[in-house]
């Protein structure tokens, strides 16, 4: 490993998670406000996260297993916001149905 790659890889990892958070947040706010622009923004952040994931595949600091793991966790980031959202909506829907 080259020393510079330590900082590069860790910053990439940080921004990777950050982009996931931005994707989730914009997704939720966009759903709330029914705003196409915000939902589009959320997809841009997810795209950024995917690109960061690709860049991470190329850094030599991380072993192969971790790279595969990152790809898998990218899928996790992709599904958590919509899944959480629809779970919340169906819970609320049930509640409304009752009253």
């Amino acid at each position: 490993m080259k020393p510079e790659e330590l900082l590069f890889a860790s910053l990439l990892l940080g921004v990777f998670a950050l982009a996931g958070g931005a994707y989730g947040s914009f997704f939720a706010i966009g759903k709330l406000g029914r705003s196409r622009l915000l939902l589009f923004t959320s997809r841009v952040f997810f795209g950024l996260q995917a690109v960061l994931c690709l860049v991470l595949l190329r850094v030599s600091t991380l072993h192969l297993g971790w790279k595969l793991f990152l790809v898998a966790s990218l899928l996790g980031y992709a599904v958590v916001p919509p899944l959480a959202w629809s779970a919340l909506e169906s819970l609320h829907g049930k509640e409304k149905g009752k009253s």
């Binding site: 330590l6 860790s10 990892l13 709330l32 971790w66 958590v80 919340l88 509640e95």
Partner: protein, 469 residues
């Protein structure tokens, strides 16, 4: 009038905020050692100052937690808490013990390698360093607290989902504290168990605990439906424990533990941000679904800050250094301290402040006006101060990992070189400046706690209804 348990809660909140102030003072003091070589040399040790800082941290949060439960529990079960008289006495024992320990640490500081030092001065377990006699009393207070909760539920012959999760969580939470008593001479074994206390507190049992408290907050703050809040709590608890328990392995990389922990620890801990992201989604959903019911904006703002702070401080900052190849260099640097500050603040500090605002509204204004300028100032100053400190430490920590370890190969000379590096020295200076901003925010917060919602006191009768509604 309100329940006696709720009066006790108010006392716990007051003690918590006082200790928060002591923690800040000790933090500022500790940060000065990094600015001047030989600061207070042979007068007051860095390690003692740091102990005061991080032990009061744990204490103000714990007291905030106890206060929250003593506040919500009688509302949940619609009756006074069992053995409340004993709990009220225990509060003074708790406070007296803390004061005595603070005095011991300030004036005696440390002792020789003898059993007497363990009993009277310091047990030496980072974050819970109090002497043994004090830890015995604190453990007793915690056990009594657990008994209060269980006995009240039994007496009421009622169990709710939130309460069941809380009770199940209190058992490991209290048992883990017994770790403070270990006196294991083998360092690897010692650290192995010590991490059970730290990690399984903050990334498992405390997360579940605060999940329960925030679930109650959502019921009382937004009038959210119990069925929804409870279902969501179960999902979150399952995800947090599913990733957090084995995430423990991210502390077993380099302390002499078997190498399979590299894989286990990296894998599970790197998944930990996902449930935290789920909580952010939930917070945003609630903000939208209950937009018209938000009558307590400060409490709600701090609740949102908790969701985002938990994700950022614990999730993002932790994720950055949780894979073994990164942690190899980041381990135990200012980088770690950066994450420590952000995560503790985001996950727990903000939550305690949110509950205090909720409670203040209930006891002061009923459903009347609960607004001020000051809360916004406090919110901004505290959060800017904290994010600034964490960022300054992140820069210092990355420089340290880079110059001392990646380039310097972790020699003593490399350690010294890194300490003198400009990124590092200036990062540590910037930390002090942002610390002062944070301190200012603390005073504004106290002022606001004192003032907000006063002057429009609702009549006694509605007060009672509000307090119990």
């Amino acid at each position: 009038m309100i329940y006696r348990s709720q009066q006790l809660a108010l006392r716990y909140f007051a003690a918590s905020m006082l200790l928060f102030g002591v923690m800040i003072a000790a933090g500022l003091l500790t940060s000065l050692y990094y600015l001047r070589v030989g600061f207070l040399l042979d007068v007051f040790h860095f390690s003692t100052a740091k102990i005061l800082h991080i032990d009061t941290l744990v204490l103000w949060l714990l007291m905030g937690f106890l206060g929250s439960v003593y506040w919500f529990l009688p509302l949940e079960l619609e009756r006074e808490v069992e053995w409340i008289g004993l709990a009220q006495k225990a509060f003074w024992i708790f406070v007296g013990t803390v004061a005595a320990v603070a005095a011991t640490l300030s004036f005696v500081q440390y002792g020789g390698t003898s059993a007497a030092s363990l009993w009277l001065i310091n047990q030496g377990r980072k974050y819970v360093e109090a002497p043994r006699w004090a830890c015995v009393l604190i453990a007793a207070v915690l056990v009594l607290f657990g008994v209060n909760v269980v006995a009240t539920a039994l007496r009421a012959r009622r169990m709710t989902g939130i309460l069941a999760v809380l009770i199940a969580d209190l058992i490991p939470l209290i048992v883990l504290f017994l770790n403070a008593f270990s006196a294991e001479p083998n360092m690897s074994k010692d650290l192995f168990w010590w991490w059970w206390l730290i990690h399984l507190w903050v990334e498992a049992t405390w997360e579940v605990f605060i999940g329960c408290v925030l679930a109650w907050s959502l019921l009382h703050l937004l009038g959210a439906s119990r069925a929804i809040v409870e279902s969501w709590l179960y999902v979150e608890v399952a995800m947090v424990l599913g990733t957090g328990i084995l995430g423990l392995g991210h502390h077993y990389f380099w302390i002499g533990t078997p190498s399979y922990w590299l894989g286990i620890g990296g894998f599970f801990s790197a998944l930990e941000p996902l449930p935290l992201l789920g909580m952010v989604i939930h917070a945003i959903y609630d903000a939208g679904a209950h937009r018209h019911q938000i009558l307590n904006r400060p409490a709600f703002a701090w609740l949102l800050a908790e969701a985002f702070g938990n994700f950022l401080g614990a999730g993002v900052w932790g994720f950055m250094m949780t894979l073994p190849q990164i942690n190899l260099f980041a381990h135990g640097t200012q980088w770690t301290a950066s994450h420590s500050h952000f995560a503790f603040w985001g996950a727990y500090g903000c939550a305690v402040i949110s509950v205090i605002y909720l409670v203040l509204q209930k006891i002061r204004a009923g459903r009347g006006d609960f607004e001020s300028q000051a809360w916004k100032w406090a919110f901004a100053l505290l959060n800017i101060g904290l994010v600034g400190m964490s960022s300054a430490l992140l820069i210092a920590g990355m420089a340290q990992a880079f110059y001392e370890r990646a380039i310097g190969g972790s020699t003593f000379q490399a350690f010294l070189t890194a300490q003198a590096n400009r990124w590092m020295t200036e990062g540590l200076q910037a930390r002090v400046l942002f610390g002062l901003v944070f301190t200012l925010g603390y005073f504004v917060l106290l002022y606001d706690f004192w003032k907000i919602g006063k002057g429009r006191r609702a009549p006694e009768t509605t007060l009672r209804k509000e307090a119990s509604g």
